[in-house]
């Protein structure tokens, strides 16, 4: 009765967070965003329409037609 399934998650300590700051650049952000880049890429590759848009956006950025930093 006491052997309940317990979900264990990793909890970052302050030390872990400081290490992340050091590894990925300064401690001037108020938060850290963790992005699964490979997962996002596989999502784009999986769906032809998303891939088409991604390729067009990449081409447009290369041609300097839109500046993403202006958002």
């Amino acid at each position: 009765m006491t052997n309940f399934a317990v979900k264990k998650s990793s909890i970052l300590t302050d030390y872990d967070i400081d290490n992340l700051y050091r590894k990925f650049g300064g401690a001037n952000q108020s938060y850290i965003e963790i992005v699964n880049v490979m997962k996002n890429k596989s999502t784009i590759d999986k769906y032809p329409l998303l891939k088409d848009i991604s390729l067009s956006i990449t081409d447009t950025v290369k041609e300097h037609k839109i500046n993403k930093s202006t958002y």
């Binding site: 997962k39 999502t43 956006i57």
Partner: protein, 240 residues
Amino acid sequence: MKRVFVKGIKGGTGTTSVVANLACVLKKSKEQVYVIDLDPKSDVGLHLGLAWAHEYGWSNYPTFNEASCQFHQDSDGVIFLPFGSNSQAQFSSSRIIEGCKQIDNSDNAWLLFDCPAHIDVTQYSLNEDDIFLEVVNCDAICHSLIYKRLQTLSQAAGQWQHYFLANRYNSASELEFDLLQLWQSEIPLLASLYINKDEVIKEATAFRNVAINCAPYSVANDDFETLAGWLVSRVNQDES
């Protein structure tokens, strides 16, 4: 007065439900709330208890002052102005937006505009204090439209707070889950919250009501309360 314009990136994204539910949640938080229906479908009133047979709204009058007689108040105290039945409105949306400035100048007043999906945001004279919520669903067409919108926004002359708000999010859908994850890291201007798909919203509408009244402990109501709080933070950030 705080102005929030809500528009779907395409038709059918659930914009009117968002406006009606958001209005009632804000009203429950002791804010003064006005809802203006700029959509010729004129269906905001259906969420706020207006009789289906009621045809008149601001579009049936030649001036804002005359149209003011069509302001209604729902049981929660939300004051709303239906579009009406004249799809060829006698005066333009821009004039009704301008006219609404004289409604209430108090700091805790919210003016929510339910905008039609076909409208171009640049047709409204927005200023830097205005918030423009563009409602999207997690699907491939909205993904395409978001990127097209980002291109037009990068060339827009005006300044306002523009956000994409994901509505009807179904976390059980692999596509929607993946798309939202992708958007959260790739799409600038994505609101840091989303509205979950919840049958309560449709059911509440069928009862000519909103989620907070029909199912106050629902996920939908939680989401709209989060949206209201987030909007308050956007306004306060703007004021600070």
